[in-house]
């Protein structure tokens, strides 16, 4: 029980020490960014259709945009800031040695930082999703909010694990490596109509979006992008990716020899 609550204590400490004006401003920016885009889109739609604006007619464009803005962009940006530099900031701040010296330091700290990244990013994503769905104002508002929220949860859990692994493996060029991964794999390969896109997180999230929103036409017209697999396959693939990435990161950090300071 004592060790089980340790990641929670790490998370508390991490959130406490990161409670700075910069981080709070970033949180609000992540919330505001999708809201501003959706509000602009709604304004344009309202202006173009005069008084006959029916949100139900725009459900798919609004839905895709919201999906792209929150589970794909907001979540990834937040996690890039929190999960990726989990190790490199400690190494650069020369505080890694203090953590590595603790009996449960390495794994618990990494897992605690993973939870912190997920909680911080998810809180911004969920608030943003709620405001955006309310702005769109369709009759399927509740369903869209539920779907987008679950997708944000899955996106945060999976992407945080991947970014954490990148941070553990490439502690010197962490951000560059993570951005390259995001651009090439998640925004590039996930759209490639080949077997390789099935190993990306965004492909699985898009498949779940189409499934849960019941957009069968969209799926049949763009099967390479949205997939044709059932929900269970997508969930299993996401779970496997998350567990493998997180497990490997936790294994690697236990045996890694990171530099501590200038040699003396």
């Amino acid at each position: 029980m004592n060790r089980l609550t340790m990641p929670w204590d790490v998370m508390q400490f991490e959130l406490r020490r990161s409670f700075t004006m910069g981080r709070i401003a970033m949180w609000f920016a992540l919330v505001a960014f999708p809201v501003a885009i959706i509000a602009t889109m709604r304004g344009i739609a309202l202006a173009s259709s005069a008084n006959k604006f029916d949100p139900a007619e725009f459900i798919e464009p609004f839905g895709f945009t919201l999906y792209f803005l929150v589970p794909e962009v907001t979540c990834l940006l937040g996690l890039l800031l929190w999960a990726t530099p989990a190790i490199s900031t400690e190494i650069e701040g020369q505080t890694w040695v203090y953590l590595a010296l603790r009996r449960s330091g390495r794994r618990m700290v990494l897992f605690g930082k993973y939870l912190t990244a997920v909680v911080w990013t998810l809180s911004a994503s969920l608030v943003s999703t709620a405001v955006c769905v309310w702005l769109i104002g369709t009759d399927v508002m509740l369903r869209m909010w539920c779907v987008m929220s679950v997708l944000a949860v899955l996106s945060c859990l999976a992407h945080a694990a991947i970014f954490l692994l990148i941070g553990v493996l490439f502690y010197r060029r962490t951000m560059v490596s993570a951005v390259l991964y995001t651009m090439i794999v998640e925004y590039g390969l996930s759209f490639v109509p080949a077997l390789v896109n099935k190993f990306t997180i965004n492909y699985r999230l898009r498949g779940l979006l189409a499934n849960w929103m019941g957009w069968e036409n969209v799926r049949s017209n763009a099967e390479n992008i949205f997939g044709s697999e059932p929900v269970s396959t997508h969930l299993m693939a996401l779970s496997a990716l998350t567990i493998i990435a997180l497990g490997f990161a936790l294994y690697r950090v236990e045996y890694a020899e990171y530099p501590t300071q200038q040699e003396g």
Binding site: N2, V10, L101, R102, R103, S104, G264
Partner: protein
């Protein structure tokens, strides 16, 4: 307490420590060496942060890299500073203790006790960003002793401490040593270590040059070629004495003729005779400066001995 068996650590092509073989029983030891001598590498090996490239080591009867439970028995105060500006000392020390798997309630009392020991009770609720260097140093010591380890390893613990702080630290370390617990104390200032312990390990270029008590090291030094400075109005008058003996390699008098540099092959002979020469010739000599306390000179002397330049 510590056993090293032909331990080497390489960073690519760079040697961190080179073929260290050592066995030291429980006690207090000063690890002394200039910057880049391998002190921090050795410490990182002792705490299991690094694996030896070659050889094996045991600390408190356990291999550090294979048994993480050992870390509960070791306290380390690294030389690097702590950079958590908006966290208080109490929060940080409690967090560090918690990472050992100690219960939350116990963590708080252990952290408070350790901070009290280092005299940080009144400031322990303040953010660490408001601390002076000396206060941060005390906080670092607190995190090292808070979980009550058997072996305490300190890397340059006097950094940033004022004279009062240095005295307090010396008393704390003496008390620690008296309690029968182990202490490894790395520094490049001989006097700092000497105030706490009489046992030394001299490290240079990743190798142990010498080990033993201060007296033993002094004895090595007296048998090792070294340079001595004689300062005073009559320093030049010693030249005729020193020129006649075969254990002096070189003599150099400065322009003011009040400082004589003597390169000695057999310092013991010099120390045996210099006092009687000064007395017999009734010379005014103000100062005799030996390499003691000057770490670079000590290492230079011992290195010359290692290179076989001594007779």
């Amino acid at each position: 307490m510590i056993e090293l068996n032909h331990v080497s650590k390489m960073y690519g092509n760079v040697v961190g420590v080179n073929d260290l073989t050592l066995r030291i029983p429980r006690g207090a030891y000063g690890l002394i060496g200039p910057n880049g001598s391998g002190k921090t590498t050795l410490i990182n090996l002792l705490i299991g942060h690094f694996r030896p490239t070659l050889g094996s080591l045991q600390v408190l009867g356990t291999t550090p890299t294979s048994d993480r439970r050992l870390l509960r028995r070791i306290g380390l105060c690294p030389a690097s500073d702590v950079l958590y500006p908006n966290v208080s000392a109490l929060e940080w020390v409690r967090y560090q203790v918690r990472l050992h798997g100690i219960s939350r309630r116990e963590c708080k009392s252990l952290a408070e006790e350790a901070l009290e020991t280092v005299g940080m009770t009144s400031a322990m609720h303040r953010p660490m960003g408001t601390y002076s260097l000396g206060m941060r140093q005390r906080t670092k010591i607190a995190q090292a002793i808070a979980h009550q380890p058997e072996l305490l390893i300190l890397d340059e613990p006097y950094n940033g401490l004022d004279p009062v702080g240095r005295n307090d630290m010396t008393q704390l370390l003496k008390q620690w040593t008296r309690s029968g617990r182990g202490l490894i104390f790395a520094s490049h200032v001989l006097q700092e270590i000497e105030s706490v312990t009489a046992s030394f390990l001299l490290l240079h270029g990743g190798r142990i040059l010498a080990s033993g008590t201060a007296q033993e090291i002094e004895s090595i030094l007296t048998d090792t070629p070294q340079e001595v400075f004689i300062k005073g109005r009559d320093a030049a008058k010693l030249i005729h004495r020193l020129a006649d003996v075969d254990w002096v390699d070189a003599l150099q008098l400065n322009h003011g003729k009040n400082e004589l540099r003597v390169s000695l092959r057999e310092p013991a002979e010099f120390y045996g005779r210099i006092a009687s020469w000064i007395r017999d010739d009734n010379l005014a000599i103000d100062q005799l400066q030996t390499p003691d306390g000057n770490i670079e000179a000590v290492f230079e002397s011992i290195l010359r001995r290692h290179r076989g330049e001594t007779s």
